[in-house]
């Protein structure tokens, strides 16, 4: 039992190890010492309460974009449109956050978060309908919708929602009451982390112990079987896709109210795409995704500061993220089998 769990963990960690190896080659070729860079990154990510708080702050959006992706992926829906939901949810929450002047925190925060979630869910109605009714490939539609969402929100913050007197594309700052409370001031860690973590844990229970959770996983494993035993597959896929959008929107809303306190153009540095990596690396399991989000959060928070303390550009983090994504879906066992086949 323990051996099996360890083997699982090793298999899940392998993509990350390979990515670190490739990152080490890139670092070595460009004249950096990989080991000291990685050691610096580790201490920047976890050395001390403030650094840990920064890492958890960076983990927060990834928990939910990973969750949103996993909910769709496990049902067999390739929703790559969480990034777009994140943008729209963030914009909706930020807009309500500065519009609802004078509302108390207890009212404005839930309303703004709900609005962000709803718009994310609504954004997925079109691709979900197209998929279940007309069989249109959701990969393409959701990918295209990302670009539409980015352009749409950037138009809104450059025009109708632009803060007065502001030259850069941003909405006005949200009301003080709309800001999610900080957990460990002066660090930026906010209530959103607890909310996100709770939702992922809730998902773990839903995944394991509820009928819908079981059914939606089953549909992802074998849709034909599910149809044969009378599960309404299209309706289930539709609901999972909307749920994925709701969570993606909520992720954006939490990011707006918790950290950025407004909406700016370029609101997400690809949280939706990193979420895909989180879901894949975590194999759609709650615990796996929490660990994976933590890893990517650590990469992001340490990347931001190693640039200050060494001459290593922050982009090494992107190289690592991208390669983790690539190796997370590669069946690395085939490498061994091929060699045996040749021998």
């Amino acid at each position: 039992m323990i051996r099996a769990a360890l083997a699982n963990l090793a298999a899940a960690a392998l993509p990350f190890v390979l990515a670190l190896a490739i990152g080490a080659i890139v670092l070595a070729v460009t004249g950096h010492d990989p080991l000291s860079v990685y050691a610096l990154m580790a201490s920047e990510a976890f050395g001390g309460t403030r650094r840990i708080a920064a890492t958890l702050t960076a983990t927060t959006p990834l928990l939910l974009t990973g969750l949103a992706t996993a909910i769709a992926f496990r049902a067999g829906v390739f929703n790559v449109g969480v990034e777009g939901c994140f943008y729209l949810g963030g914009l909706a929450a930020a807009t309500l956050g500065f519009w609802l002047v004078g509302w108390p925190a207890i009212a404005i925060i839930p309303v703004a978060l709900l609005a962000g979630a709803l718009i994310g869910g609504a954004w997925m109605v079109a691709p979900a309908t197209l998929k279940v009714r007309l069989g249109v490939d959701e990969v393409v539609t959701t990918l295209m919708l990302n670009f539409i969402a980015v352009n749409l929100t950037s138009w809104l913050v450059n025009g109708p929602l632009l803060a007065r007197g502001s030259a850069n594309s941003a909405t006005p700052a949200i009301e003080k009451t709309a800001e999610l409370p900080r957990l460990l001031p002066p660090s930026t860690l906010h209530l959103g982390f607890i909310i996100s973590l709770a939702l992922v844990i809730l998902y773990g229970f839903w995944d394991r112990f509820t009928v819908t959770g079981f059914r939606s996983r089953l549909v992802g494993l074998n849709a034909r079987f599910c149809r044969a035993v009378g599960i309404d597959v299209p309706s289930l896929l539709f609901r999972m896709m909307i749920l994925s959008g709701l969570i993606g929107g909520l992720a954006g809303a939490i990011h707006a109210l918790g950290l950025v306190h407004r909406f700016v153009a370029g609101f997400s540095p690809g949280y939706g795409f990193t979420g895909i990596a989180v879901a894949l690396l975590g194999r759609n399991s709650a615990l796996g995704m929490i660990l994976a989000a933590l890893v990517f959060g650590a990469l992001a928070s340490s990347g931001a500061t190693i640039q200050l303390f060494s001459d290593v550009p922050i982009e090494i983090v992107e190289v690592l993220q991208g390669t983790v994504m690539i190796f997370a879906v590669a069946k690395l066992g085939l490498l061994l089998r091929d060699r045996r086949g040749l021998a």
Binding site: V26, T30, G31, H32, F78, V80, A126, L130, R133, L134, G135, V136, D137, V139, V140, T141, L143, M144, L145, F147, I148, N151, L152, S154, W155, N158, G159, G270, F273, I276, A277, L280, D311, V312, P313, E315, I316, V317, E318, V319, Q321, G322, T323, V324, M325, I326, A328, V329, A330, K331, L332, L334, L335, D338
Partner: protein
């Protein structure tokens, strides 16, 4: 008034068309290539470096072609030999290569964002006497660079190769009837890899067109999502070369129009949304047509 717009539209079409033809061939071979953007970015950077170092446009184009092809090969091997999901691998390459390019710019060349080495030689323009003075026709045919001519020449060539040659048949078999191809003793995975290398090489040229054909320098945002527009173009074209070219032309026209309309009250962001919106509409139309067809037959 109309001539500069036509000229600009064709100029904007070239990189989209090059990458779209590559992506189309790749898709016929069985891989939806989401990583075109990364191969384009590689080609754009390599072309600037080689052009500045050697002063030779031919070498620069060749280097961009090879570099794009190598990225394509790497991506393809992960997909075909390690059974990885092509969508995720494509996105992973987009993220990793964008990061790597910026990392190398900072780390090796000490610049951030824009790389503008001295001595970059640009693609020449081919002026055609007499025709150049004819309105409209002159704007279309004269003053274009060699890559634009190459891109358009590749449209009938691709159509012919895919439809009428053994090579095309094998590629189509690798894409749509892998088991049959294997049973006939063909190697569908090798065909598939070859088609991805082709897509990478074409995207590398597309990137070179952007960097040494249009602006003469490299910028980290130089591709600006054109790899994904190219994806939109071959989805618009439903794997047919001429229809794909039409899609690329349409999107190139939007881009030229959007640049012209800047500062005239039409928001650039809304025009930039159009290609993506059109693809969704086209897919919707296709889906409706499919349903009607299957509905009437049953």
């Amino acid at each position: 008034m109309i001539d500069p717009l036509i000229h600009a539209a064709l100029l904007m079409t070239t990189p989209i068309l090059l990458a779209a033809i590559g992506g189309l061939v790749n898709r016929v071979g069985g891989i939806v290539n989401i990583g075109l953007e990364s191969m384009m970015l590689t080609g754009a950077l390599v072309a600037v470096i080689v052009s500045a170092d050697t002063g030779s446009v031919v070498l620069a184009l060749l280097a961009a072609l090879v570099a794009g092809g190598i990225v394509g090969l790497l991506m393809s091997l992960v997909v075909t030999r390690l059974a990885a999901n092509e969508i995720i691998v494509g996105l992973g390459f987009s993220v990793a290569v964008a990061g790597l390019v910026r990392f190398l710019l900072k780390s090796v060349y000490g610049v951030s964002g824009t790389f503008n080495p001295p001595g970059v030689v640009m693609l020449p323009r081919i002026d055609i006497p007499v025709i150049a003075d004819v309105p409209i026709l002159g704007a279309i045919l004269s003053g274009q660079d060699p890559l634009t001519w190459f891109a358009w020449a590749m449209v009938p060539v691709t159509a012919f190769v895919l439809a009428r040659t053994r090579l095309g048949l094998r590629l189509r078999a690798a894409g749509s009837a892998e088991m049959t191809a294997r049973a006939l003793g063909l190697d569908p995975l090798a065909s598939r890899d070859a088609s991805t290398v082709f897509a990478g090489a074409m995207s590398g040229l597309a990137g070179a067109h952007l960097s040494i054909g249009v602006v003469g320098l490299f910028n980290e945002g130089i591709t600006g999502g054109r790899g994904f527009i190219a994806l939109a173009a071959f989805y618009f074209g439903r794997n047919r070369p001429w229809r794909t070219a039409l899609g690329a032309l349409l999107f190139g026209f939007f881009e030229a129009l959007q640049i012209r309309l800047q500062g005239r009250g039409v928001p650039a962001e809304l025009v930039q949304m159009l290609p993506y919106l059109i693809v969704i509409l086209v897919l919707t139309g296709l889906g409706l047509a499919n349903r009607r067809r299957s509905g009437s037959s049953s």
